[in-house]
């Protein structure tokens, strides 16, 4: 079963078409990369699929549920990490995870175990009672990811999760993504970093609201006759 199926998904803001009839699907456990310049429509597409924005036309099914009519069911099955860091800075690491875990109705005892487990994985157990505002950005991003998958969603949307983060943390972050994907979670990730695009199972390049190229990194490189995704992108932009 496909985790995400977008069908002619379109979003217009007045005269401006932010997302223009995009169609694609993401399989279970697949890491799907959304590439494109700023303003290409990546964030708008993600917001529609996660129920934050209503589409102008077209539709999509997320985990088998329709975004127009079954948004409550979708919300239970997705995790979301926004472009902007959006955990509560004035709550501690533990309090943040507890808050979101409780909202997803994870039973109290199990929630505590899950939080401790995931903090141990992140090697952040010592920071459990630190205010989120006072931890470094890279850790914040890892924490936001851990919080987004705490309720074991089927699909995770990551909107530029690694922007502004140093290369070491980026690599660690991708390790977390792989781990989640290996458990069957579908991941839709947007990024500016072309090296990260190489880590994806499949990528799509968006421009002016449309998906211009789609395929595995290998396919795209072959198609454009270049060696790296970076060159694919440069060549695509020049075209």
């Amino acid at each position: 079963m496909n985790s995400i199926e977008a069908n002619q998904l379109t979003k217009k803001f007045g005269d401006f078409t932010a997302v223009d009839h995009i169609c694609f699907e993401v399989r279970e456990g697949e890491i799907f990369g959304f590439l494109g310049a700023n303003g290409a429509g990546k964030t708008t597409a993600i917001k529609m699929m996660s129920g934050l924005l209503l589409p102008t036309s077209g539709t999509a099914t997320i985990a088998g549920y329709d975004i127009l009519t079954q948004s409550k069911l979708i919300k239970r099955n997705i995790g979301y990490m926004s472009q902007k860091f959006s955990l509560y800075g004035d709550l501690t690491v533990f309090e943040n995870m507890q808050l979101f875990g409780t909202i997803y109705k994870i039973p109290r005892k199990e929630l505590k175990e899950r939080i401790m487990d995931s903090l141990r994985e992140l090697e952040m157990d010592a920071q459990a009672n630190t205010l989120v505002d006072s931890i470094p950005l890279g850790w914040k991003q890892k924490l936001a990811f851990a919080t987004a998958i705490l309720h074991r969603p089927k699909i995770v949307f990551l909107d530029e999760p690694t922007s502004g983060v140093d290369p070491i943390v980026r690599r660690e972050f991708w390790k977390l993504i792989y781990q989640a994907a290996s458990k069957g979670v579908a991941i839709l990730v947007t990024t500016h970093y072309m090296d990260e695009a190489e880590y994806c199972n499949r990528i799509s390049i968006m421009s002016e609201g449309q998906i211009k190229l789609i395929g595995t990194p290998e396919e795209l490189k072959k198609q454009m006759g270049v060696d790296t995704i970076n060159d694919v992108f440069v060549k695509f932009v020049k075209r």
Binding site: S50, G51, L52, L53, L54, S71, K72, K75, R76, I78, Y80, S82, K84, F85, S86, L87, Y88, G89, D90, L91, E95, Q98, L99, F100, T102, I103, Y104, K105, R108, L131
Partner: protein, 412 residues
């Protein structure tokens, strides 16, 4: 239920970790309470007065002298010209000018009409009104003494005029002083005498519900109202929109939480805080200002609880329709000023034109201040605040429905 509880916990944690918000919640009201009642005082305690005496007679000197024995007047002495007086009034050196015409004494004895000109600086109209009132009272008092000391045939029209002016400006019960009245008019019954005999009437006022005419009794409950309104409306209006600004609301909106759950999780903490503030306000009111609640405390708390719901709902409504804290701050500030000025918290509503009264039907604060005054100062029972209670309840339902409906998880 667990969801709402965790949201309440979150909100309290955030409030107590936010030093700025804490100081808004705790320090600001306390300062308002400790300073404002002592400053917002309509009582006129000092009036600077000067005189121009064109008569220089014994009577004019006596009248001027009688001003010195009053606590409220500070005599700035005799001036020689109108121009000098103008200059002094312009520079706020004097509030009042009393000018005696030449041949003042002569006219009095000849029983001719004569006029004492009283000029007041009416930039502050309350002060001017009260000032000229006092001047009339003192001159009138002197004239009555003068009249009593002289034969009735010497009564001047001016005195009569003074006396009648006095009785026009004050509302009083003649019956109370009937005895005295008949005493002084015993010599010549009023109907048969021309010129009319000035009636000597002492007016004694009893002010119900605020016997000492203590302005604090009006101001302090007013501040209580402002306090509850600020907590209810201002803090909540900023709170929700702040989450919009920092983006946390997006993280909440992708969760399966229901919007009424989210709003309840926001309202309950601030409702509790508002009630706590109100309680603290009542305690300060009692122990600092000696004003205790005359009516039923549970009734007062109950209606306050409803009023807080109105304000919380309004706060959330404002923050869900505004984009950032600046916008919602301006909206709240605008509404707040309108509410306060129209509500009668500090100014009486009786003098307002009809349209203002109509607008006041939409002003929750005007209903609430009525309740506060009635229950705290008058000791009113539920029957006399029933209308206000019903109106506030209806407002609470409408505004909170509006708040829930206007709060969107997904934007169009």
């Amino acid at each position: 239920m667990r969801t709402i509880l965790i949201l309440i916990k979150k909100e309290f944690l955030q409030v107590f970790r936010n030093p700025l918000l804490l100081s808004i919640l705790v320090v600001a009201p306390m300062v308002e309470f400790m300073i404002f009642p002592f400053c917002a005082d309509y009582e006129i305690k000092v009036l600077n007065i000067a005189f121009i005496d064109n008569d220089r007679s014994q009577i004019s000197k006596d009248i001027i002298h009688s001003f010195n024995s009053s606590d409220i007047f500070v005599s700035k002495g005799l001036l020689t010209s109108k121009k000098e007086a103008d200059e002094k009034m312009k520079h706020d050196k004097i509030d009042l000018l009393v000018e005696f015409p030449s041949h003042f004494e002569e006219s009095l004895y000849k029983n001719e009409p004569t006029v004492i000109a009283v000029t007041a600086n009416a930039i502050n109209s309350v002060k001017a009104g009260i000032g000229t009132g006092y001047v009339q009272e003192i001159i009138g008092g002197y004239m009555q003494d003068f009249a009593a000391a002289n034969t009735p045939s010497n009564m001047s029209a001016a005195i009569a005029q003074q006396a009648s002016m006095q009785s026009n400006s004050a509302s009083f019960s003649q019956g109370e002083d009937g005895e005295r009245q008949s005493n002084s008019s015993a010599v010549m019954p009023a109907q048969t005498i021309t010129p009319p005999m000035p009636i000597r009437i002492n007016i004694s006022n009893i002010y119900w519900y605020n016997e000492q005419m203590n302005y604090k009794n009006l101001i302090v409950p007013g501040i209580l109202v402002i306090l509850v309104t600020l907590i209810g409306c201002y803090v909540t209006a900023l709170n929700l929109v702040r989450e919009k600004e920092i983006g946390t609301i997006e993280q909440v909106n992708v969760t399966p939480i229901r919007r009424w759950q989210f709003l309840l999780g926001k309202m309950i903490p601030f409702w509790l805080l508002g009630m706590a503030e109100f309680g603290a306000g009542l305690i300060i009111m009692k122990f600092v200002f000696g004003i205790s609640v005359q009516g039923s405390l549970p009734l007062l708390l109950g209606i306050t609880a409803i009023y807080l719901l109105v304000m919380l709902g309004l706060g959330f409504f404002i923050s869900s329709v505004s984009e950032n804290q600046l916008q919602s701050m301006f909206i709240v500030l605008f509404l707040f000023i309108v509410f306060v000025l129209l509500s009668g918290v500090f100014t009486p509503t009786e003098g307002m034109p009809g349209w203002a009264h109509k607008i006041n039907y939409l002003n929750p604060m005007s209903f609430y201040i009525e309740v506060i005054k009635k229950i705290i100062l008058k000791g009113s029972e539920f029957e006399s605040v029933m209308r206000e209670t019903i109106v506030l309840s209806v407002m609470a339902v409408i505004i909170n429905t509006g708040a829930v409906l206007s709060y969107r998880e997904a934007s169009k």
